[in-house]
Every structure is written in C-alpha cells, then in structure tokens.
Symmetry: C2
Subunit: 435 residues, 2 copies
C-alpha cells in the first residue's frame, strides 16, 4: 500500500471477501484506506465500506467527496446507505443524496432517514420482492428478474393486495416447484409475522429468534408493506446489545475495545471509577463518624469488607436476573406483587443461611462475644434483604425511563449498595453494642 | 385443557404459530402439556416440542413412550431430533431410534449423536440440498422437488464434485433466473465460507455474523460436505452466550430465570455468595491481624471500602474488555507484550488520577496528616495496577483452560481482588506510618 501499487492491490484483493478486506483496512490509517477504496471496483468498494469498523468508516466518510460517496451509495441497499449517511451532518447529507443517480434509491433513502434510530423503520431496507395476489408464478418470476440486481438476498416473496396491504408470503422454493400459470393466491401462506415501523430493534431481534425468521416484513399503521429487515442486521443488534450490557455491568462508558488507544480507554474507564471513588470517600466520612465507637470495639473494622462485598454480590445477582427477564420479555409475566414476594423469600433464605454461617464463624472460630456475632450476622441478613430489594427495583425503574437496565448491575448501584450496607452495619452495631 | 376438550383444543390452536403454542404449554404442568401434544397433528406437535423451554421439554420427553417419541422425530430435521434425543439416557435413546420409520433419518441421527456438544457437528442438520457440478438446472430442480419435504428452508444449493467435495454454492434466485439446460458449473459461486465439524459454536456464530450468512455448510477433514448450520440455531447460541456471560459476571450458577421456583433460585445464588462470605471472613482475619495498628490510627478503617471497591471496579472493567476481545476473536490481534504494555499505561494513568484525587480529599478536605494522605493515595494507586493486571490475566488463563472467561468478571475474582487490595493497603500503611 505504501508504494501505492495500484495493480498489485487490485490483484491481491480480487476474490477476497469484503469483510476480510474491511478488517485489513481497519488497520490502515485513513489516507491509505481511502486510497485502497478508490482503487477497488465501485460495487466491491461499496461492500467494503459497509463492513468497516465504526471509527475508520466515520473518518473515511467524512473525507470523501459528495459525488464520490454518492457513487458508492448507488451500489448499496437502502438500509446500508442510510447507515453511512447518518454519519454526516444534515447539510452534507442532502448534498450527497442530490448526487445519487437512481431516483428510486434516493427516494428510498429520504424515506428511511425519517425513522427514529433503533426502530424497525431505521433498520429495514426498501429492497425486497413483492407480488400481487392475482399474479401468476411467471409474472412473479419476471418481477424477481427485474429486481434481481437490487435485492441481494430474497428468501421469501411478500404477497400484497391491490392496496399494497401485506397478506402473506411465498417461499422461493414454492415458486420453483409450482407450474408457470399457478396463481400466487393459491400457493401463499397467510401465517406471517410482521413488525410495525416503530418497533424497537431489540424486540425485533427477540421476535426473529423466537420464530426462527431469516427476514421479517415491516408494515406501517395501515398494514401497508413498507420494508424488510434481514437477519444479518439483527445479528449485529444482538452482538451490540450483549456488548452494551457487559459494558454497563462493568462500568465502561462509550463503545471501546481493547485495541483502542490508551487515551480513549482511560477516558472510557475513568468516569465510573470516579463515581466509585466518590462513594468510597462518602463511606469514609460515614465510618469516620463512628470513630469513637470503633476505638472501643476495634473488631468492627474487620468485617467491613464482608458486609460491603456481600451487599454488592447480592445486588448484582438480583439485578441480572431482572435484566434477563426484561430482555426475554416473557409473555406470561408473573404479577409484580408475586415477583416481589418471591424476591423477598429468596433473599430471606439466602440471608438466613449466610447470616448463620457468619454468626457461627465469628463466635465459635474467631472467638468473639456472642453479642458481637449477633451484630455481624444480623447486619448481614439486613444487607442481603436491602440489596435484593435495590437490585430488583433499580433495573425495572431504569427500564421504565428508557435507560439500559444492565446499568443496575454496574458500579453506580454497587456503590450505593456499599453505602447502604455500611449504614446498616454501624446502625445495628451502635444499637446492640450500646456504643 | 382441564376438561380435556379435544376438539376445542385443536380448533383454538389451529393456525397458531408453534412458538406461541409452546410458550402456552410451558405454563401448563407436564400431564396437561403431554395431553395437548397428543391431540395435535403429529407434524405440528413435533414443531411445538422443539420450541418448548428446556425444563418442560425434558419432562415431556422422559414421559413419552419410545414409539410415540419416534413418530414425532420422524417429522423433525435431524439436528432438532438430536437435541431431543440428547435428553434421554443412552439406552432409551437406542430404543427410540429403533422405532424411527425412515432409515435415512435414523442414520443421520446416529451420525450426529457422535459429535461433541457445542461443535459444528452437533449443531448442523443433515438435511440440505446439494447439486453435482455437472447437473443442469432442471436436474437441480428435480432434486429440490425430491427433498422439498425434508428441507424446510433452502437458501442456497451447495455444489459438490463427484467425490462429494464442497466446491461452492448457487443461490436459489439464480436457479429461478437461469434457463433449464444451464449447467450448474456455469452459474455457481466459488467464494464460499464453510466450517469444519469440530469448530466451536461461538466461533461459528461470530463467522456468520461477520459474513452476513443465513446458513453455512459444514465439511469434514477431507472437505466433504457433511451438513449445514442455519442462522436460527446461531441466534439461539448468541442469546445463550449472552445469558451465560451475564450469569458468570453476576455469580449465578445454573441456567435459572426469574420465573423459576424460590428453591431453585436460592440454590443457584448461594454458592457464589458463599464464596464471597469466605473471602469476607478471610479479610476479617487479615484486618484482625492489624488491630494493634488500627487502634493507634483509627482513620485507617474509614478507607477500607474505598480500597476494596476501587479494586473490584478496576478488575471488572479490565476483564470485561478482555472478554469482549476474546469473543470478537479479532484477526489482527496485537501481540501479548504490546497488550500488557497498554494495560499498564491505562492502569498507571487511571491510578495516578484517582490516587491524586483521593490524596487531595483526604488531606485538604478531610483534614488528615499529609503522611496519611500519601498512604491512602499510594495504596489506591497500587491497587489499581494490581487489579488491572489480575483482571487482564485471569480471563486469558480461564479461556486457555476452556472455562468461560466472563467468570473473571464474577464474584470469585472480585473476592480475590478484595483480599489483595486489603493486603496492599495495610502493608503500605504499616510501612509508611511505622505501626
């Protein structure tokens, strides 16, 4: 690449998969990547551009001329073109769209740009095959031929009536196996799952997983067929969701990867660590308030980590269970009351077992007074109850406000639980030990 | 259902989707579910059985007669049949297989049962369409017609030579658009991604996501085409993987859900909580050893939660980043040395910022001695370094030993980090404060 050996590049790349070429370009700097993209055949360059990582893609897109970018968009399906355009400011976006040759495609793109990010409308492509109820198989094959270049993967043909309302689908297999003059209405299946344009992408992913779909049609409020979402987009949604959850749980802001720069990694990690530090400093203030009592009963200090760690562990377990059942969106959810009753039961059982074990160890193995064993055991029991409650309520509340509920398993809540646990521990100690 | 109203059930279920019916049966007890399955048409009952949740499916499968179960397996693709059979003990398995009518299917099933769980071999189905290189389009369509009932979803036709070696694929779209006497060898694509039988399911999921595949052919060591994996199976793998990771991070053993029984939930949660308790008790022992020093310098106790919490947060962040990059299996991984250098840099930066903030707060806001501020700030710096190192190394080591690396973000490592942090904190304090 450095020598800018044009024929060398195109030769070595010929026949390679676009995803592999993109992975290669991700490692180059922006000028080099741009140079390679310009050398490649346009249709292939368009495929490679789609597959680039977020950061290099953003940089390349910013740098390209409007006409040049538009020429690549001409070779993309509408949903991919929109993903690229969304990286430009509105003014540049209009400029690029005005350079797109195919009027049908620029119309599609303008329609898709209007949908909210993360909705079915923003995820769908306008390219798909539809057939009228009254067509014959031959007419349908003609339509497939006409659209063959625009629609890369067909799967099913969607069947609509004269008002463009979605009625059902015909598998490609059936088209092949039916005689030429068979009517579409005699071979189509009515049992069809579709999603509305406003549905959230995670819900769509769950529907496609549950019903084993490779593609799902999107309809507007009048049941008019307006687009199609394919499973490859949903695989990306699921992967992103899993990464987001893990980052929320581990307290990393931003979408960073291990391969990012030291500066970017530090910036993504510091904010949540900082919140932990503030929590720790507040905890220090709280414990400092009991210094007199602590001096009289120095063993109290020893069990601070036991209390805070257990609170943290219980809280994370509880919230993770809730996050999971929120993600699965189970149809037959138990009532809120029954769920809380169950959470309480589990917490009491866990708290009782752990509290007794700790009481026993503190008194019989560590040879402390019985009274002190009761303090630690009882405080632990209370902390388990409280942390279970917090861990259950927080993700539900976050979800209601549209925040990723996995945050509840992250450092913010853990920090809050630490403080709560400390307060309970010292309160119980002061009461029972008369400090 | 209670009234066992046969015609009522079949009527109300007619036309419903198998996944919805399965979700309904999941809520019934085993006898009721079994009753409904027996009332349904066999082909539909087979689809519903596949879609049942793990627990009800297991119970129903155990209860069915061998011949009855075999009759349902006759209507399943081989991979689904194997999933069902894997729930039986070997003896019952043989018995059921002997009742399967189609000899081809029972042969398929016996072959698939030999592959290790979680490998491509165990995930693939034997039902797919293949065409010889020298066939014409008409011959290929004949093959599709012959197999139409066995292969529910076709996507592509795989092209093999006379030795059954995989050469490429033809999209169904191309079959429709080509004339009847076109040879397969003139229209097939050679650029084809396949996976070996021994490849791990998570790696397959990542390949299918990366290359946007709806199905991938499986080959044996001699490149002979032996099966096909479809994307619906991979969606389940991804969902399971995300759930497993979250459970590993939150310290829940077993595959439990919020809707499980109180007893099951408690059993799944107690073991990790117990490990946390053991860690906490060891920590108490460790701190107890410094009681004399603590009495002289009571402020030391106040900052215990700050130290342990920060160690925990840093460790989880580090391990989550590693877990992510292990999952993505990036092709252009940086060298281990460079990665550690970067981890060290990020840790030093984070540690420096946090250490200084804490030093400042302890000295200027909480009005402690400068010497004591240095103790807390320096201990914090060391803990950040250590926790980063532990958080980076542990998932790599776990992965090497075939354990889910997400465990490294779970309670076991957090507990270990707590102890390590406490040891560092008291060591620094004893040195600098001459206690």
């Amino acid at each position: 690449v450095e020598a800018q050996d044009v024929s060398g590049i195109s030769e070595s790349i010929e026949g390679a998969n676009e995803a592999d070429v993109a992975a290669l370009l991700d490692e180059l700097d922006m000028e080099e990547a741009l140079f390679v993209l310009r050398v490649l055949e346009r249709e292939f360059a368009a495929d490679v551009l789609i597959e680039l990582d977020e950061e290099p893609q953003f940089k390349v897109v910013q740098e390209m001329e409007s006409a040049e970018l538009a020429a690549l968009l001409d070779h993309m399906e509408s949903d991919d073109a929109v993903d690229i355009l969304n990286q430009l400011v509105v003014k540049d976006r209009e400029e690029v769209i005005s350079h797109i040759q195919e009027k049908e495609k620029s119309g599609y793109i303008q329609e898709l740009l209007r949908y909210e990010e993360g909705s079915a409308g923003s995820l769908m492509a306008k390219e798909f095959i539809k057939a009228n109820l009254n067509w014959t198989v031959v007419q349908t094959i003609e339509e497939i031929r006409r659209q063959a270049e625009n629609v890369e993967k067909i799967y099913s043909i969607y069947v609509v009536d004269n008002k463009e309302s979605l009625l059902g689908r015909v598998a490609l297999k059936k088209i092949i196996l039916s005689s030429a003059d068979t009517k579409v209405k005699d071979i189509y299946e009515e049992d069809l799952i579709s999603v509305p344009t406003y549905m959230d992408e995670e819900e769509i992913a769950e529907i496609m997983r549950r019903y084993d779909l490779e593609a799902v049609p999107v309809v507007n409020a009048k049941n008019k067929l307006v687009g199609r979402i394919t499973v490859d987009d949903v695989l990306d949604v699921m992967r992103e969701q899993a990464e987001e959850d893990m980052q929320a749980m581990s307290g990393i802001s931003d979408d960073v990867e291990e391969s990012d720069s030291v500066f970017r990694l530090t910036k993504a990690r510091l904010p949540w660590l900082f919140i932990g530090i503030v929590g720790g400093l507040l905890g220090a203030k709280l414990i400092g308030g009991y210094n007199a009592g602590l001096s009289k009963y120095i063993q109290l200090a020893s069990f601070i980590p036991l209390i805070t760690a257990t609170g943290g562990n219980v809280g994370i377990q509880s919230s993770s269970l809730v996050v999971q059942s929120l993600a699965a969106k189970s149809v037959f959810a138990e009532s809120l009351g029954r769920r809380f009753a169950k959470v309480l039961m589990v917490a009491m059982l866990n708290g009782l077992v752990l509290g007794l074990v700790v009481f026993g160890t503190v008194v019989f193995i560590y040879n402390n007074e019985v009274k002190f064993g009761i303090v630690v055991g009882l405080a632990l029991f209370c902390v388990v109850l409280l942390a279970s409650f917090m861990g259950t309520v927080t993700p539900i509340v976050l979800d209601k406000f549209g925040v990723n509920p996995a945050m509840a398993s992250g450092p913010f809540i853990t920090t809050a639980n630490d403080l709560l646990g400390l307060a309970v521990y010292f309160f119980v100690a002061m009461m029972l030990l008369n400090l």
